[in-house]
Symmetry: C2
Subunit: 328 residues, 2 copies
């Protein structure tokens, strides 16, 4: 049976402070969580009832074992998660300064195993059969992952829904100037593009949301989604439909992972065949819920939690109050 | 005023499981501690009342800031701790399987800042004036740290007490075969050599403790200390004095750091001018106390704690019982 969603990209161990609002030197303990954008999106969609898998790689070490166990615990198929001998499983620390400052500290040297995803190792039949396929911009930052990501996109060639999460992380690129042509090629094979204003600017050269959405449609996709943080979300389709959804007021604790929750929910709505407005509102609420919680993967909301937030028109968590939300 | 002890070498952030006896995949949270052998030895001696400093380097990041704050908190002078832009402060995870299995997982890629210690940056006058100077084998594993370590040793040239902690960590060496000549050169400038049986074998080619101690004396030192884990400690001096001290029975929780506690206490005894047996018994007890505690730096014992353990003839902690101790 085909998967509802296969994601391809980053995985790692998130180590998030158990004391929030203080700088890293004053943090005394950290919680350990499954992390990484592609993994988080697969978890988010699984939490909403979807059959998902992630294509990624880990170190051949106890943290790699943990990631397998965590994926299976979240109901994400881990059959395409393979070890890379000699490279440690990445770990990521963050600082938590609500409402809007969450610096990340990546330990992905000398190279992240997920950038060793190889085109030869891809199950192209399964990728072609997936109802939604999701790739990220970071997967384009180094070889062999770049070639593998583009090969998978080319093989799909716009059958079904193919999402390109622009996911711009300049620190992962040896040569950031190499990004734009890679992004352009990925967009030619994608049907949906998702990004914040920084990311759409890298992909299109345009920062203003409506102009950027138009540029993404020109670049080849059928649906462009621009996340604008406190200003909400703009989604524009090739058919001319356009919706703007304001941010859901939320008590933000940690904005990290909100974009992945948004992504998993976006896939869920597209799979359900919902209208554009309902899809974006649902994704927006899922993101706001994760922003109100410390962690990413284990914070992904259920359908009932999203519906409750939409019904209440806000997300009230344990963090300091901050209207409006933190999708970025 | 001269320092009682200056150490040169490794520093980093230790992230140790707050759940012990379970493999890393099942650990849910970690405590954050100052770590790294050279830093720990300076902390251990400071806890015993000595005026100490460490020569090392960190990343230019919040964890580096933390290490400065932690050193100062422990009373260790951090004036020679400098940042290296572009290299993250190392972090180290461990698994805690008492009584004798404590695997380490180092994140020191692409290179640890402490291996960027440069001979040009050394305060050779202060190094020469220190009553005890302490270097480690890991400092020889890469340039420019290797040249800096050997330059500092050559500058001291056996004035006062110069300790070479053999500290054999093969994973830090690109070419482990390069170690032996480096170790031989360091021994020519040292007055004291300290190591476990694996380490003395690398330094001398001999594993049997008495033969290894003799070989270390032949290589140039005046005092050879061989740590034999459960079999205790052998110390042999050039003057022909030899003591063997059995391990102190201890409830071992985490053996990591015990060797650094031993080292800091060894310096304390040498500074005090104690006899060899008292010095080694004190160091042995300090090591056993740290082995009974989770962390390294913040677990270093006070004089009163060491005396209490020596008086009781054992260390009773919170970990599972294990006679005898865990010095390795």
């Amino acid at each position: 049976m085909a998967y509802d969603l296969i994601t391809l990209g980053r995985i790692g161990v998130d180590l998030y402070p158990l004391q929030t609002g203080v700088p890293l030197p004053q943090v005394t303990s950290f919680g350990k969580f499954l992390g990484g954008s592609a993994a988080n999106v697969a978890v988010a969609a699984a939490r909403l009832g979807r059959r998902t898998a992630v294509i990624t790689r880990t170190g051949d070490d106890p943290f790699g074992t943990y990631l397998h166990e965590a994926l299976r615990g979240f109901g994400v198929d881990d059959r395409w998660v393979t070890p890379v001998p000699g490279l440690p499983t990445p770990v990521t620390f963050c600082e938590v300064f609500p409402p809007d400052d969450f610096p990340l500290y990546f330990y992905r040297q000398p190279k992240a195993p997920d950038l060793e995803i190889d085109a030869d190792g891809l199950d192209l039949d399964a990728i072609a059969a997936a109802r939604v396929f999701w790739v990220t911009g970071t997967g384009l930052s180094e070889e062999p992952s770049r070639t593998a990501t583009l090969a998978a996109l080319a093989h799909r060639d716009r059958s079904g829904t193919t999402v390109f999460d622009l996911d711009w992380r300049p620190m992962f690129w040896r040569d950031p100037d190499a990004a734009r042509p890679c992004y352009a090629e990925a967009l030619r094979h994608a049907t949906v593009a998702v990004g914040n204003v920084d990311e759409v600017e890298i992909a299109t050269g345009v920062r203003e949301p409506h102009a950027a959405a138009a540029a993404l449609l020109d670049a080849g996709v059928s649906l462009a989604v621009v996340k604008q943080g406190p200003e909400g979300v703009l989604a524009v389709s090739r058919t001319g439909e356009s919706v703007e959804v304001p941010a859901l007021p939320a008590d933000v604790l940690n904005g990290l992972g909100a974009g992945d929750a948004f992504g998993g929910s976006l896939c869920h709505g597209l799979l359900a065949g919902w209208g554009l407005e309902r899809t974006v509102r649902h994704a927006n609420a899922a993101g706001a819920i994760v922003a109100s919680r410390l962690e990413c993967s284990s914070a992904m909301p259920t359908e009932a939690e999203v519906e409750a937030a939409l019904g209440a028109g806000a997300v009230r968590g344990t963090g300091p109050a901050h209207p409006p939300g933190a999708l970025r």
